[in-house]
Amino acid sequence: MSVRAAAWWFVAPALLVIAIFFVLPVLAALALSLTDFDLYALADPSNLRLVGFQNYTRLLTTPLFWQALGNTLYFVVAGVPFSIAVSFGAALLLHSRLARFRAFYRTALFAPVVTTLVAVAVIWRYLFDTRYGWLNYALGSIGVTPIDWLGDPHWAMPAIIVFAVWKSFGYNMIILIAGLQSIPAELYEAARIDGASPWRQFRHVTLPWLSPIVAMVSILTVAGYFQLFAEPYVMTQGGPLQSTVSVLYFMYEEGFKWWNLGSASAVAFLLFVLIFAVTAVQLRVARWQSAA
């Protein structure tokens, strides 16, 4: 058998799986979002009708969809900078020459990343408990009156953000540490010879070197945070007063609870377009920054 023929045997299984179980469904999602596919069509496909953009226009007049979009944006806009700031701080601390037991700390700070999201969400639900939770107990010791974290519509999303940051900051921390380690020592050497203070070294050596890595990390984190689902599913079931319904949570209920599969596909597509647009803007900004 020629190398060429053999090559096809090596890639064929992967390409077939991706084509049939990913590319085809993505294209079908677009088609499906233009139909009224529901429980009746699930039972008998002849009930299926093309409805054009009706799913989209109906979604855009559904208050809960807007609320889900707003909640998700809140989660992204507040959660991503918070998360990256914590990752960055942790990376700087771990990279510091003064840090001891680095291997231990690195593993400890990374551990939440590999835990099972559902399991740790269950733990945090109890940590957030109004009466018996550790968080209110700790805050109480400095005089804060108990907060109904997951039961108050104003606090539920901040609580989920705190949890999400705890769960995920270690991932970006590792990438930023790799970035810090890749900075040539000569750059700091030269800055020191020029008499630059540690702060100026940080400002003029560390930050410019890391900015492309921070840009990449932000783009990936934003795309990831837009896919909020399991946290509200386990911790709040979208409540209270739908303050933690995310776009994906809305899609899940629309599709797999009410079986409005046409409408759920439209939600998925809108989310994709939104993520794509935000990513494109971020790439623009990153490129403009690196050119400046």
Partner: protein, 272 residues
């Protein structure tokens, strides 16, 4: 001054490590408490009389053994199948010439921006049509190849010297033999890394198993735990034991294989 700075750096690290680990340690402690013991103020740290009753109850009445088996079987199957498929494809994209290779690879990379959730509704209908909804196959088949896995292997395989492959070909070895006895040993580090990524990702996955496995007999641990925690909101101790069973296996795998996991993460991010 250096003494003070060192104190601040190490103090902050200690504080962050405490916040990172406390929920996990507390989970373990509460899982050994008697029913109701954790629901007092101030919240207790250690069980007064450590007991395995919560674990016993989960396995005897909660069907935990069944969920554990489901998670182990599915994670093993997905890891083995997808490693085979992705390593073969990643190697071919790096080292074997075939028509439109680079164009196909670029298309695959472009598809990386599409979130998996976009495909979920039609994928569900497709698998229903194929009779795979409510079966292990519904989880395994769509996960059998991953663009990210192919990409990771390809980046690593680009460094394999062509001479090595040519020498084997001149010796008359078949392409399959070259793959098995030359390529796979060279790729071993990236195979281990990808195996750990896949294993952790599959074990922890929630949304897709929740959708495709509606029969309770087939639940994986995360799906079962989410459903149990909706039923048993007040049973802190029982739920903590469930969380331990769900997340301890992956934490142990990570601690054992963390070197290859971290190195893979760093290599993939900075070079890629």
């Amino acid at each position: 001054m250096p003494g003070l700075a060192g104190l601040i750096v190490n103090g902050l690290l200690l504080g962050m490590a405490a916040v990172s680990l406390f929920p996990l340690v507390w989970m373990l402690a509460v899982s050994f408490m008697a029913p109701g013991e954790a629901s007092v103020f101030p919240p207790p740290l250690f069980p007064a009389h450590p007991t395995l009753d919560n674990y016993r109850q989960l396995f005897a009445q909660g069907g935990m053994a069944r969920y554990l088996v489901n998670s182990v079987v599915l994670t093993t199957a997905v890891t083995v199948v997808s490693l085979t498929v992705n390593v073969a494809a990643g190697y071919a994209f790096a080292k074997l010439a075939f028509a439109a290779r680079d164009r196909i690879f670029k298309l695959l990379l472009g598809a990386l921006v599409i979130p998996a959730q976009v495909a979920m509704v039609p994928l569900f209908l497709l698998l229903k049509h194929l009779g795979l909804v409510n079966s292990y196959g519904g989880v395994i088949v769509p996960a059998a190849a991953s663009i990210f896995g192919i990409f990771l292997v390809r980046q690593y395989a680009l460094a394999i010297p062509n001479d090595l492959l040519e020498a084997a070909r001149i010796d008359g070895a078949s392409e399959l033999r070259i793959f098995g006895s030359v390529v796979v040993p060279v790729l071993k580090p990236i195979i281990v890394t990808l195996a750990v990524f896949t294993l952790l990702g599959t074990w922890n996955d929630f949304m897709w198993p929740l959708i495709v496995l509606s029969d309770q007999e087939l639940y994986t641990l995360p799906v079962a735990l989410a459903s149990l925690s909706r039923e048993h909101v007040q049973d802190h101790e029982l739920m903590m034991a469930g969380s331990v069973i769900t997340t301890l296996p992956v934490l142990v795998v990570f601690l054992v294989l963390q070197r290859s996991y971290m190195e893979g993460l760093m290599a993939g991010s900075v070079k890629g």
